[in-house]
Structures are given as structure tokens and as C-alpha cells.
Amino acid sequence: MADEGYGVGASLLRREDDRHLHGRGQFVSDIKLPGTMDVAFLRSPHAHARIRSISVPPEGRGRVFTAADLPRVKPIRVTSHSTGAKSPPWPPLATDKVRYVGEAIAACIAPSRGEAEDLANAVSVEFEVLEAVVDAARDMRGSRHTVHEHWADNLYIEHVLQGGDIDAAARAAEIVVTREFRMQRQSGAPLECRGVLAYRDHRLDEVVLYASTQTPHTVRVALAEILDLEERCIRVVAPDVGGGFGPKARLYPEEIILAALALELDHPVRWIEDRSEHLLTAAHTRDHHYKVTAYADGRGGILGVDAEIVVDAGAYGLWPQGPYHEAGMVARALPGPYTIPNYRAKHYTVATNKTPLGPYRGVGRPGACFVIERLIDEVARAVGREPNEVRVMNLARPEQMPFTTIGGMRLDGGNYAESVRLCAELLNIPAIRVRQQRGEPDGRMIGIGFATFAEQTAHGAAEFAARGASIIPGFESCTARILTDGSIVLMVGIQSHGQGLETALSQVAAEELGINPARISVRHGDTESTAFGFGTFASRSMVMSGGAVARASRMLRDKLCRIGAHLLQCDIAEVRCADGVVSGPQGSVSIGEIAKVAHLRMDGLPPGVDPLLDATATYEPAIGTGVYSYATHGAVVAVDPETGFVELIDFAVAEDCGTMVNPMLVEGQIRGGVVQGIGTALYEEIPYDETGQPLVGTLADYLMPGAAEMPAIKIGHLHTPTPHTEYGMKGMGEGGAVAPPAAIANAVRDALAAIGAEINETPISPRRVLAAIKRAREAAAKA
């Protein structure tokens, strides 16, 4: 690894920072094109209704577009190869029916957004309101109404994942722990909402779509299909994107409609989502119900887990992966990194009259981790042992690696127990236990909780094919180009929206080419300038795109060496490429000089070597099922039994993501992920009432973590490079968000142990804490 201070392993400061620190970032809403008109969407106020008629006021003629006005637009339709999967068509503008509050009905155009909203308000729609399906667990087998009327029930898919013999585990068990768990619906809520700007470029015969998306290339794939255009006639650009976290890794109706409007109209159109619209219509996430039983022996060894998992997936499937991924991931991740021999998970993905469910940092795993880690602690309590002792005795051990869990996750290496030990050390548990015993002067109760997990990352073709996916994001691409002066441009198919990939990918090329990253540009997020790639999600970009950059850079290095050896009149075996020069026994020639020969003075090229320094490479890790980072998170809380308020006093992460290309960026991702996980654990929730009305619509009622409530987060690293990737790196973008709900719930349980209260539902709001304390006290009084 490089020790020059800028290659793989260096905490190089970010090249992205300067523009943002001066307010010169370029987000979709910052782009100005002459003649642009604003679009506002008229949206359904009802969860479930038939549209009887739509009437447009006279001033709206030619400025209000319904589905009938845009006949070329086909419905969004996800295909799945899984047995029994149902896939409803989703018209980007509603036709005869609306199926969730916020579903788009018409696009209204005006010179400013305010005027466009005025116009949307002037359109009247006559609805026949239908009963809404809102309770996934109750209504999955069908109710008087189904969300999709030709369906016999409300199930997108149901499946059983099992291994071993769960009935034998039940018979052998000395300890049986049964619990219900709930992880409420929430929003991904990047600080920049969604946005689209679209126009027609007549010179290039294309429609250009600037969109706040994590996946520009696949958005183009879908637009071509839905609008019946050839892909060469569509360009999608993701400029600066103000956070993504998963919800922006899907195709949305608004992107389709804006592209369709740009084709119809002779001016640019833009739609900039506001926060209320975002909370209402951008993909929701989580919303899991669980009934789970753990079977254990008398020392806490887990013999089996039997789970029923219900995921409330909302009214439609978001393209490309549909509603299917969430429950499948939960089922496979639920056994965690444990050596549980027997397992059964029945999982149900249910259509309801709610906003469609999409991916959000962790995808399924925060719920799975919440369930198994709460069970580990309850088994430990049942056998009278410290939770971490039971945790460690059940974890896969280093000598068992690679270890395939009963959920089918192939852990490729590492020392999971050591992460438990390191995390406890970071929190100084003995001191906390003393404080806990002493009691707080203000009557609050101190608790400590831990959670351990494995994070599947950079999964490739094998994984997505097994999921029945129609689009298999199994590789990434890079075109590396050295220009005539020796400066370098990397063009990559991923998208960077805060991760610092412009910096980290330049470090990879610097490592391979021996060039200072200051001479390297990274282009991403534009279908015009980059080879096809899938985008940034699933903790994949550093491994996959970094691998592609390494390969393309090596192809260039080989060519530089060949030309350099010719210019130095020596054998290629005698030269090396480092510090911006190719050097041989008798001297050296700079990359700039070689680049000049390769472009401007091709008479200096060796025979048989073509001009240009331009290489495109793709990369897929050597293993298609993913490489596994892992971590243990630990939380220390103070719970006020009078108010139910939970304060986080301390939080620590001990993790292993293999080789870190840029440790500073890795720690930034961990801390950011943890705080999102804390949001899931304590604050964020989108409740619905019985009629399918969402009960939050602003950041005043949807609570996001703020600086004042967050602790400084401690981090410790373990280092187990994986043999399956370039440099041994593993993805790690999502892990931070996975374990906080579990660790905090365990800490709250520990704090309230004397009362006997436990909270098995997120967010752990004061209301839920008080209710749990009340239940426990009532149960104790009866006993």
C-alpha cells in the first residue's frame, strides 16, 4: 500500500469540499435554463378512491396534464422471477384509481412553483372514496377490499426460508423466548428532496433529464422502455445530489412525467419536491412486524429461531427491484452472524394503501438485527448470563470462516467476538456498571446494550439472480483517460452524493499510476460521459467502482510502460511507473511526455502500439454473494422513568471493513450511518390513521436527529482484508444504520431491568417507554 500520503490507505482530504463550502455546489434546483416552467403535481388526498372525473379550469388548458394527455407514457411495471410474485402496473399519473395519499394525478405547469401550485389547487377531481387497506398483518389475506382489485389477496409475495429442523429445536429447547417486534414506517429524508429538470436538445436529438438520483444509467433504461424511446435519445444527469440513502435509487413517476412533458413542450420543465411532498411520496422504508420464537439450551446456546415477518410495502412496487427485496433481506439476515442450526422464516410482503416502500440505508437489516439482538439479550436474561457472553458463545468463530449462516449469508472472514470485546472496551463498561449501581441523582436509570451484525456488501450477480431480480447490478465500469498533457479523467458509472467517491476513486488511480490525485478528475452521474453502470447503493461503489478504476488504471499503466520503455530504449521489464514518471535503467520520461507521444506525436510510438491512452474496464468481485463487513455497536442510555425520555450518553462502534482506502471517509460513513440508525431507534416515524391518512407532513412532526441529542460516536477498527476484492476492501456504507435500534433497545431494556419493562418497537418514543413501564408495573402488581 502507498505510504506517499495519497494512495490506498491515506486519509486524503476531500476534493468535493471546496465547492460546497463556498455555496458553489450544483444541485438540480440550482440549474437555470432560460424559459423553464415549474411543475406542481396534483396529488390524491385519499388513500383509496376511484376517480370519477377530473375537471380543469379554463386557465389550465394546455397547462394541466393528466394521464389522458400523455398517451405515450406506459405504466411502471416491475418484473420478478420469484415464484408467485405479483406485480401491479403503476401508471405514473393515476388513471381510474388512486391507491395512496400523495399519488400523482396531474402535472400543472406555470412560470413559478407558487403559480403552478395555485393551478393544481384549481383543478377539481371527483372521487368515490373506497375503504383503505392499512393494516398489513390483519389484511394480507384479503379484506373486503384489496388494494389491487383483480387480486384475491393483498400479498405481493410470500415465502418460507428454512434450514435444519425447527421442530427438533423446539423439542430440545430448555429455554423458549417468544416476542413480537415492530419497526415503524419512516422516511429516508435526505436533506435535499427529489428534483427533476428536463428539456429537449434538438441538436443532439435527445431529451435531457437532470435528476436528484443515485442511479442515472438505470433511470435511462426505464425511461426508454416506458416512453418508447431509444436510449440514444435520452441523457440522464445526476449533478450534485444532496444525500440519497436509498430512496433516490429508484425510478419515480415524476421523472417519467417530466421527461414526457419535455418531449411535448418547447421549453424546459422542472419539478422541485418540497419537504411535505417528500414525506408523503418519496419511498418510505422499514415498516416490519415480527412474531419470533428463539429456542435455546440452558446456557444460552441458540438452537433455533422461528419467525413470521410481515412487511407493509405500500401500494406499488418501485422499479427496478419492486417490493420484494425488503422481506427477503430480513429473512436472510435475521439469524445474524450466529451459528444457529435450525431456522424457519415465513415472510409476507403486503400491499396496503400507503406510499410505496423502497430501500433505505441497511435495507431490511436494521429490523433483522433488532429482532435477533433483542432475542440474544432475552435468552441471556432467561439463563442468567451477561448478554455479551451469550452473544459471543453463539457467534461464528474465526476458525469457522468462511461460514455460511442458516439464513444463507456466506461470511467471508473476521473475528466477530473481538468486535464485541473492543466495543465494550471503548465504552469502559466497568465504570458504567459502577455508575449504574450507584444510581443517578435525578432518578434516571442507566442501561448498556450491544448489537452485533454482518453487513453483506457489494453483492453481485449471484446474489441478485437468487433474489429473482430482473435487473442484476453485478458489476461497475470505469473509463480511464490520460489527456495529452498527462492529466487524467476517470469516468465511472456510479454516483457520489456525499460519500466522497470523487476523492476515494482518485486515490485508487493514484495508487496504480503513481500520480498525484490532484491531477485526476472523476466524472460520474452522467450517462453521456460514462460507460454503463448501476449507480450507488447496496454498499457497493467503493468495491465495485474502485475495482473498475484499479483495472482500467492498470491497463493504462501497462501502455505507459510500453511506450516509456520504447522512448527510453530499454526493455519493458526494466521500467516502472511511479511518481508521475516511467523510469528505466538509464533515465525517465514523464507521463506527460508519454501522453504527448500517444496523442500528438505518434511517430514516437513503438511499432504495433495504437495511439490514445484510453481504457475501459469492468469489475465484479471474485465472489458474487458479497463480501461481509461486520461490527458491534454499543449504547449507553439514561432513561427517565417519569417522562419516558431516553438520552444517549455514549455510543461506540467496533467494526471491520477490511482495507480502508480512505479511513477518514470510512469513519464519516460510520458516524453518519449511526445517527440515521439512532433516528430509527428513537425519533423517526410516519404513522397512518385507519383511513390511510399519513399523520406527519413536516419536519416539525417528523423528528430527525439533531446535534444536541447526539453523542460523539467512538470508533474502533479491526482489519481483516477479504481475498475476494481489490486491495481487500469491503463495502461499509450502510452498516452504521443497522445496529443502533437493536443496541439502544437492549440498553433501554437494561436500564429498565429493575422495573421489568422492555420495548420491542421503534421508535422508542417517550410514549412507548411510559406505556412499557406501565404494563410492567401492572403485571408486577398482579403477580
Binding site: 460546497h20 463550502l21 455555496g23 440550482d30 436533506l191 445530489v241 419537504r275 464519516g668 449511526v674 452504521g736
Partner: protein, 156 residues
């Protein structure tokens, strides 16, 4: 339309605006000062924080007409400002930004905390940032960067 005259980043700007136009939309749409970001448009997230007559203000909640004859400073200003310079340097050094969307509002608020002597401890800085949401960083590095910048510019 209402005639207004604002001093924006040291330049006097006269314009006719609809009475309902927010200061944020005025800055972004009419003046192309797009460093002022809109994250919620209801005064919670703090991304649109600017200075009005030297005081931090939510530009999404203020009307442009209410800023007639007033001084407005946005992230594009602060040309020779020592505190903003120290904040920018420390935000970079300590990796205190990721997507960059909250950053301009964060810097304007942080500058105010330092100038008011409200950045002397981690607790004080965290309380002071209560009105600025960052979804990416987890705040730890932002707090460190502000604390360091405050040390470098003790009297603002």
C-alpha cells in the same frame, strides 16, 4: 408587485417582487445565489440560514418584501471574513461535510455562534446547532470543526 431595495453581500439590489415571494426564492431564483439551500421550507432544517442585518434568519420563512432596505449576507458573501475562513478550513480538515447540502446554512450559524462566544464547549456548540439538521455526518466532525475554528478566532 412591490418595489424593494436590498443590500445583498454589499451590493444594493432593486427589484419588483410579488408580495408572497420568500427571501430564499428571491435570492435563488432572482439573484442566482443558489448557495442558500431549501431543505424544508418551513423553518426547521436550517439549510437556508442567511444573515439579515447581521442576525441569522431562515430565508424560507422571510418574505423578500420584509427585507426592504435591509442587509442580507449569504454564503457567497463573507469575502474577507476571518471566522468563515477558519470555519471553511476546519470543515475541510475535519471532514465536517458530506453531501454539502446543509453546509452553507451550517457555516452561517456556526459563524454566529463563534461571534457570540457560544462555541466554547462541545455541549454549547451542539445546543447552538439545534436548528440546523445534517443528515450525513452525524455531527461529530461538525462540532469538532467549529470548536477548532472558535479556538483560532477567539474574539471573532
Amino acid at each position: 408587485m412591490t418595489a424593494v431595495r436590498l443590500n445583498i453581500n454589499g451590493k444594493v439590489i432593486a427589484d419588483d417582487v410579488p408580495p408572497r415571494l420568500s427571501l430564499a426564492d428571491f435570492l435563488r431564483e432572482r439573484r442566482n445565489l443558489t448557495g442558500t439551500h431549501l431543505g424544508c421550507e418551513h423553518g426547521v432544517c436550517g439549510a437556508c440560514t442567511v444573515l439579515v442585518d447581521g442576525e441569522p434568519a431562515r430565508s424560507c420563512l422571510m418574505l423578500a418584501v420584509a427585507c426592504d432596505e435591509r442587509d442580507v449576507a449569504t454564503i457567497e458573501g463573507f469575502a474577507a471574513d476571518r471566522v468563515i475562513e477558519a470555519l471553511r478550513r476546519n470543515f475541510h480538515q475535519h471532514h465536517a461535510l458530506q453531501c454539502g447540502f446543509c453546509t452553507p446554512g451550517m457555516l452561517v450559524t456556526a459563524r454566529d455562534l463563534i461571534l457570540r462566544g457560544k462555541a466554547s464547549s462541545e455541549r454549547e456548540i451542539r445546543e447552538g446547532l439545534a436548528g440546523n439538521i445534517c443528515r450525513c455526518t452525524g455531527y461529530t466532525n461538525i462540532v469538532t470543526a467549529i470548536a477548532e475554528a472558535a479556538k483560532e478566532t477567539p474574539h471573532g
